[in-house]
């Protein structure tokens, strides 16, 4: 699982790199446009320790941001699933906020939250929560008639139960999206660091861009990819655990 994820990432990365290098040699671009292999290797050697620490820092925030965004999406998804005016309103509000690219909202966020950790977290959560929200909304607004009927008939239906039933019936979709949204949490954190510029790999990318150093960016992308592969493998493993805990083994014989 983990090893497969990692070597699959390595293939993707190598392919991307090959594409760039191919372009470099085909178009005869100099090292300052696209660095050659030896320069990339040299850069890797110089910065990898520092960048790895930065990436870990970023990953930590991303994990927290993802947790926050899961909570947020669940809350909004649960309220927004209702077909009432209020439910609809919450949905519209949640959608609208998302339409604003973070770069436009950033000045306002800085005014409201100041800088530092909270801002990074908030931006990461905002970027990552939307796909989660969409899925939670989709899942939560669709009744599972054959299961819910009894509880409705007997006046036992509470919103918690409704949410639990629908979540359980769509567990697979939900775990897919949670595992998938990890990448967005990471991207969100990096963007936050990029524009707020205080720490993490996003900040290092900012500096590399400022110095127009594509080599460093390639190293950063590499480290981000690796750490994300590990994180996602962990999440998938956790997803399997959840499935097993709820004993979701599908009908049919188990060999």
């Amino acid at each position: 699982m983990l090893t497969r994820r990692i070597y699959q990432f390595l293939i993707v990365y190598a392919a991307g790199l090959a594409l760039l290098l191919g372009l470099k040699y085909l178009a005869g671009l100099s090292d300052y446009v696209i660095p050659g292999p030896s320069l990339v290797w040299q850069t890797f050697h110089d910065v990898w320790g520092r960048y790895a620490a930065d990436t870990l820092d970023t990953l930590t925030v991303a994990v927290l941001g993802q947790v926050a965004s899961i909570c947020l999406a669940t809350a909004i998804g649960i309220v927004g699933r209702q077909t009432t005016w209020f439910g609809n309103f919450v949905k519209v509000a949640a959608y609208n906020v998302q339409a604003y690219p973070i770069v436009a909202l950033a000045p306002i966020i800085f005014i409201l939250l100041g800088d530092g950790f909270i801002t990074r977290l908030a931006i990461a959560a905002m970027i990552c929560y939307f796909p989660l929200l969409l899925v939670v909304l989709g899942v939560m607004s669709e009744p599972v008639e054959e299961i819910e009927h009894f509880y409705r008939m007997t006046g036992r239906m509470r919103w918690q139960l409704e949410v639990k039933i629908r979540a359980f019936e769509n567990l697979h979709k939900l775990t897919t999206v949670v595992a998938g949204s990890a990448t967005l949490a990471m991207a969100g954190t990096i963007v936050a660091e990029f524009i707020a510029a205080n720490a993490g790999i996003g900040y290092s990318i900012r500096i590399a861009l400022y110095q127009s150093d594509l080599g460093k960016i390639l190293i950063a992308l590499f480290l981000i990819g690796i750490s994300l592969s590990v994180y996602q493998a962990l999440l998938e493993w956790a997803g399997t655990l959840v499935h097993r805990r709820w004993e979701m083994v599908e009908g049919g014989a188990v060999p």
Partner: protein
């Protein structure tokens, strides 16, 4: 104990902020009873807003930010002007003839950041040269240098003392030496970064402002002093891990010239004439609706 103070820079911590860092690391602030947190800035950071919101006590802002803020009633005061020569300049390849006269700009493709300082400056330069937009080609600048690298632009805006050194070095290694076009050489003096404070702090804690300013300028003075060069470089290196030592030394050298044009120059002097010109330029370009008398925003030590 020491009084806590937050100081927000405009940009990254590197050779451009050597004095700020030096003052902190080498105890100039502490000597005046201040415990200063020097925070790096960023593209979305605005020190003037932070002053008003109370997030910071002192900050670094560009002259156009100061003038715009003043135009909107922000009680901001400039206590020191670090850069005497604006480091925002244009890079071009040495294989074209050096630009000695503004008329030579005719027909070139020039990168500008729409909405940015460099747009204002370049348009002023062009007006001075008697060129209008049809005589040149303007190219919108973004985060990366690709259009310049690939020859689609002749001139590209750059921070002379930080980016400029790194990129010039990288291009030189590929056998393409470069030169810089400095508008100040042609009489366009657009003020760059300055240290600002909120009027409130001057009113309530004049001593604090005074102590901070003293410490900061002494820090700069010391940092730029040739005999402290090793210590200065060592200080920068603590905050800027991304610049190789040899380039950092050259960055420091260029910074020195921009901040302290002559060896006996008193760092931080407010160049009233340049400020006046900056305001005029901004008015002429319609960037502020009315005169703000920016000179009245310049701090006069000793004034109440």
């Amino acid at each position: 104990g020491a009084e806590p103070v937050v100081y927000r820079l405009k940009w990254l911590q590197n050779s451009s902020t050597v004095g700020d860092l030096y003052a902190d690391v080498h105890g100039f602030f502490a000597a005046r009873g201040l415990s200063v947190v020097v925070k790096p800035g960023g593209p979305e950071r605005d020190a003037i807003k932070e002053l008003e919101l109370g997030h910071s006590h002192f900050g670094v802002a560009s002259a156009d930010q100061v003038i715009r803020a003043a135009a909107k009633g922000a009680p901001v005061v400039v206590i020191a002007q670090i850069f005497q020569v604006n480091p925002l300049q244009w890079i071009y390849r040495s294989n074209r003839p050096p630009i000695d006269a503004l008329a030579q700009l005719k027909g070139l493709t020039i990168g500008i950041t729409y909405g940015g300082n460099d747009e204002t400056i370049m348009r002023t330069v062009l007006a001075k040269a008697g060129l209008d937009e049809s005589d040149i080609t303007l190219l919108s600048v973004r985060y990366d240098f690709t259009p310049f690298y690939r020859g689609r632009a002749d001139l590209w805006p750059i921070y002379r003392n930080s980016q400029g050194i790194v990129i010039a070095n990288r291009m030189a290694q590929s056998g393409e030496p470069v030169r810089f076009f400095n508008p100040a050489d042609f009489g366009v003096h657009f003020v760059a970064n300055s240290v600002v404070v909120h009027q409130r702090l001057i009113d309530t804690r004049p001593d604090l402002v005074h102590r901070f300013r003293q410490a900061l300028l002494q820090g700069w003075q010391a940092a730029l002093d040739e005999k402290n060069e090793a210590r200065a470089l060592e200080t920068i290196a603590r905050f800027d891990a991304d610049t190789p030592p040899d380039l950092m030394a050259r960055q420091l050298q260029v910074t020195r010239k921009l901040v302290r044009p002559t060896p006996d120059f008193a760092v931080g002097r407010l160049d009233v004439e340049a400020w006046r010109q900056t305001e005029e330029i901004m008015r002429a370009r319609g960037l502020i609706p009315r005169a703000v008398d920016v000179v009245s925003r310049l701090y006069r030590p000793g004034a109440p």
